[in-house]
C-alpha cells in the first residue's frame, strides 16, 4: 500500500530548477532511499515533503490525501516527521526533554491547566516522560536522559533526533543523512535501528550518502541528479544502471538526461 507519494514535484530557486518533475511512491513499512550527487535536490525534496518548502508545481500525497504545502506542524499531526542533516537539537533542554517535545501532538492538557498545574498536567508529564524514555531506550540513550542535550557527542545527537522523531509515532519518517559523520560502528547501529523502525510498519524515507548502508537496507532506491529523476529500482537494479554509474563516476556529464519527462 502506498503511504507517501509525490507527483511531478517541481521547484525553482531564483531561476535554478532545484527539482524538476520528481515523482515516487513509497510503500508502507519499507525503506525508500533517495540518493544522488551533491546538489541533486535530495534535501529540497525532503523540505517539500515535510512542508518547509512549497513546490511551484506538483502534489504530495500522504495516506491518499493531498497534503501539498500543508504546514509542517499539520503534517506532523497527520503522521509525518523528519530529522535534519544539520542537527536541530533543543540544546537548552535535557536529552529526555528533547524527546518529550516529540510527544507534543499526543499531549492533551490546555494552556489554563498548564498555568495552574492541574493534576492532569502531572499525569500528562508522567505519561509523556515514560513514552520519551521508551523512545530513548530504542536508540540506546537512556543513560544520557538527564544530560543537557547540548553536551552529547555527535553520534548520540544523531540518534537523539531519530528518537525525537519516533516519539511523534509517525507513519512516515524522513531521515536526512542519519549516518553522515558517523564511524563504521555507529553506522552499523543506525542500520539496525532503521531496519527495526521499518519492521514496525513505519515507512522510512532515507537520504544518505553512505552507499553501503543504502544498498544494504533499501527496498527501493530513487536516484536524483540535477533535480531530475535518473532512475528508480531495487539495490541490484540501481547498481547495474549505467546512467547512475555515470552520474556517480562522472564519466561524461552529458549522460545526465532525465529518465522520464513530465507528461
Amino acid at each position: 500500500m502506498t503511504v507517501l507519494e509525490t507527483e511531478s514535484i517541481s521547484i525553482a530557486f531564483g531561476g535554478v530548477r532545484a527539482l524538476d518533475c520528481v515523482s515516487f511512491k513509497a510503500t508502507a513499512g519499507t525503506v525508500f532511499s533517495i540518493i544522488g550527487p551533491n546538489g541533486a535536490g535530495k534535501t529540497t525534496l525532503f523540505n517539500v515533503i515535510s512542508g518547509l518548502s512549497v513546490p511551484d508545481d506538483g502534489r504530495v500525497w500522504l495516506d491518499g490525501e493531498d497534503v501539498t504545502a500543508l504546514a509542517p506542524e499539520r503534517l506532523a499531526r497527520r503522521g509525518l516527521s523528519r530529522t535534519f542533516q544539520n542537527l536541530q537539537i533543543f540544546s537548552h533542554l535535557t536529552t529526555v526533554e528533547n524527546v518529550m517535545v516529540g510527544r507534543h501532538r499526543h499531549e492533551r492538557t490546555g494552556l489554563v491547566a498548564d498555568l495552574l498545574h492541574f493534576p492532569a498536567v502531572s499525569r500528562q508529564n508522567r505519561v509523556t516522560r515514560d513514552a520519551a524514555l521508551k523512545a530513548l531506550a530504542r536508540v540506546g540513550l537512556v543513560p544520557m536522559a538527564q544530560r543537557p542535550a547540548g553536551s552529547l557527542a555527535y553520534g548520540d545527537l544523531k540518534r537523539l533526533e531519530i528518537a525525537r522523531a519516533l516519539a511523534t509515532e509517525p507513519k512516515v519518517l524522513l531521515l536526512d543523512e542519519p549516518a553522515a559523520g558517523c564511524n563504521p560502528t555507529e553506522t552499523k547501529n543506525i542500520e539496525t535501528m532503521i531496519r527495526g523502525i521499518a519492521a514496525d510498519g513505519i515507512t522510512v524515507v532515507l537520504v544518505e550518502h553512505d552507499m553501503r548502508l543504502v544498498m544494504n537496507i533499501s527496498d527501493r532506491i530513487h536516484v536524483l541528479a540535477n533535480g531530475h529523476t535518473l532512475a528508480e529500482g531495487d539495490a541490484a537494479e540501481i547498481r547495474a544502471n549505467p546512467a547512475v554509474i555515470e552520474a556517480y563516476l562522472g564519466a561524461s556529464g552529458a549522460a545526465l538526461e532525465p529518465a522520464s519527462a513530465c507528461g
Partner: protein, 321 residues
C-alpha cells in the same frame, strides 16, 4: 525495560523548590527594616519582579524579545487610574479589566508582530511601546497628559489600604503566586514547547508544535504580568505619569531579566532587586551615581555573563554548561 534505579535517577526535583529561599527572604526581611522607606523599596522590587517574570517567560524561555513591554505596564497603571476616577469603576475591578485589556491588546498586536524575528521583532515591539506612551501623553482628557493623574486608593467599606507594610505582604504574595504560575508553565507541555521554539523553530514545527500559536500565548501571558505590575505600581504611588510605559522603563525590564539570568525565575527577582536597590544605595555618590550604576552593570555582565543567578549557580554547583 527501565529498572527502578533508572526511574529513581530520572525523578526530577520538585518544580517549586526555587521558591523556598525566596519565601524565606520575604519572611525575614521585615525584621531587618528600620523604617517604612525600606518597605517601599521592597514593594517596588516585588512589582518589578512580577513584570520581569513575565518578560522572562517571553525572552528567557520562548526566546522572543520585547522592547516595549512597559507599554503593558502603562495599560495596567492607567486602568486603575482612569477606571475609578473617570468611570466610577471599583479599583479592583479596574485592575482586572486592565489585565484583560492588556491580554486582548497583546493578542491583536502579537499576531502580526511575532512573525518577525530577532532585531526586527525588537524594533517592532519598541514601536509599540512608544506608541502607547504617546497615547498616554496626548489623551489628556482621560490621562491627565504629560503631568499624569492621581490614582484612588483601594478601600473596603471604611478601611483604606494605605500602610506600606500591608502593601509589602500583598505584593510579596502576588509575586510568589506569579512565580508559581511561571514555574507551572515551564514544567508543562506548553512550557516544553516554548523552550523548544527557543532552540529550533523548524524542529519544533516538524514535531507538531504550532509555533505561531505558542508564541502568541506566551506574549499574552507576559503582557498580563506586566499589566498587573503596572496596576500595583500606580496603586502604591497613588499617581501615574506616562513615564510608566516609557522606553527607558522597557529597557529597564529587559536589563532586569538579562542581569538576573534569562530563563531563571529566581533571577528575575534578583535582577529586579539589583536594579531597584542599587540606584537608591548609590545616591551617596551624588553626581557619580549613574556612572557607578552603569559600571556595575557592565562588570556584572562581563564576569557573570549568563546573568547573576545562573552564573553563580554554575560556580556553586561546580558545573560548567
Amino acid at each position: 525495560m527501565l529498572t527502578l534505579t533508572d526511574r529513581f535517577r530520572l525523578l526530577q526535583r520538585h518544580r517549586l523548590i526555587p521558591l523556598i529561599p525566596l519565601a524565606a527572604i520575604i519572611l525575614v526581611l521585615p525584621l531587618l527594616f528600620p523604617s517604612a522607606y525600606y518597605y517601599r523599596i521592597a514593594a517596588l522590587v516585588f512589582i518589578f519582579s512580577i513584570a520581569a517574570l513575565g518578560l522572562n517567560l517571553l525572552m528567557g524561555f520562548a526566546g522572543q524579545v520585547s522592547l516595549g513591554h512597559a507599554g503593558f505596564m502603562g495599560v495596567g497603571a492607567y486602568a486603575v487610574a482612569i477606571g475609578p476616577t473617570r468611570l466610577g469603576i471599583a479599583p479592583l475591578v479596574a485592575f482586572v479589566l486592565g489585565a484583560i485589556f492588556s491580554a486582548l491588546l497583546a493578542f491583536v498586536v502579537g499576531r502580526p508582530i511575532l512573525r518577525l524575528k530577532g532585531h526586527y521583532l525588537a524594533v517592532a515591539t519598541l514601536g509599540f511601546g512608544v506608541l502607547l506612551t504617546i497615547i498616554f501623553t496626548n489623551e489628556a482628557k482621560w490621562t491627565g497628559g504629560p503631568d499624569g493623574m492621581p490614582v484612588q486608593q483601594i478601600t473596603f467599606i471604611n478601611w483604606t489600604l494605605r500602610r506600606v507594610s500591608t502593601w509589602y505582604w500583598i505584593l510579596a504574595v502576588s509575586f510568589l503566586l506569579s512565580a508559581v504560575i511561571a514555574l507551572n508553565l515551564i514544567d508543562s507541555p506548553t512550557g516544553r514547547a516554548l523552550r523548544a521554539i527557543h532552540d529550533s523553530e523548524r524542529a519544533a514545527r516538524v514535531l507538531g508544535i504550532d509555533v505561531a500559536q505558542k508564541k502568541l500565548a506566551v506574549f499574552v501571558i507576559s503582557a498580563v504580568y506586566a499589566s498587573v505590575a503596572g496596576s500595583f505600581f500606580a496603586l502604591i504611588n497613588g499617581y501615574v505619569t506616562p513615564d510608566v510605559s516609557g522606553f527607558l522603563r522597557s529597557i529597564e525590564l529587559v536589563a532586569m531579566v538579562v542581569l538576573g539570568g534569562m530563563g531563571s525565575i529566581v533571577g528575575s527577582f534578583v535582577g529586579s532587586a539589583v536594579l531597584v536597590v542599587l540606584p537608591q544605595g548609590l545616591t551617596i555618590f551624588h553626581e557619580y551615581e549613574h556612572a557607578i550604576l552603569g559600571l556595575t552593570l557592565m562588570a556584572v555582565m562581563i564576569f557573570l555573563r549568563r546573568g547573576i543567578v545562573p552564573s553563580l549557580a554554575a560556580v556553586l554547583g561546580g558545573t560548567q554548561k
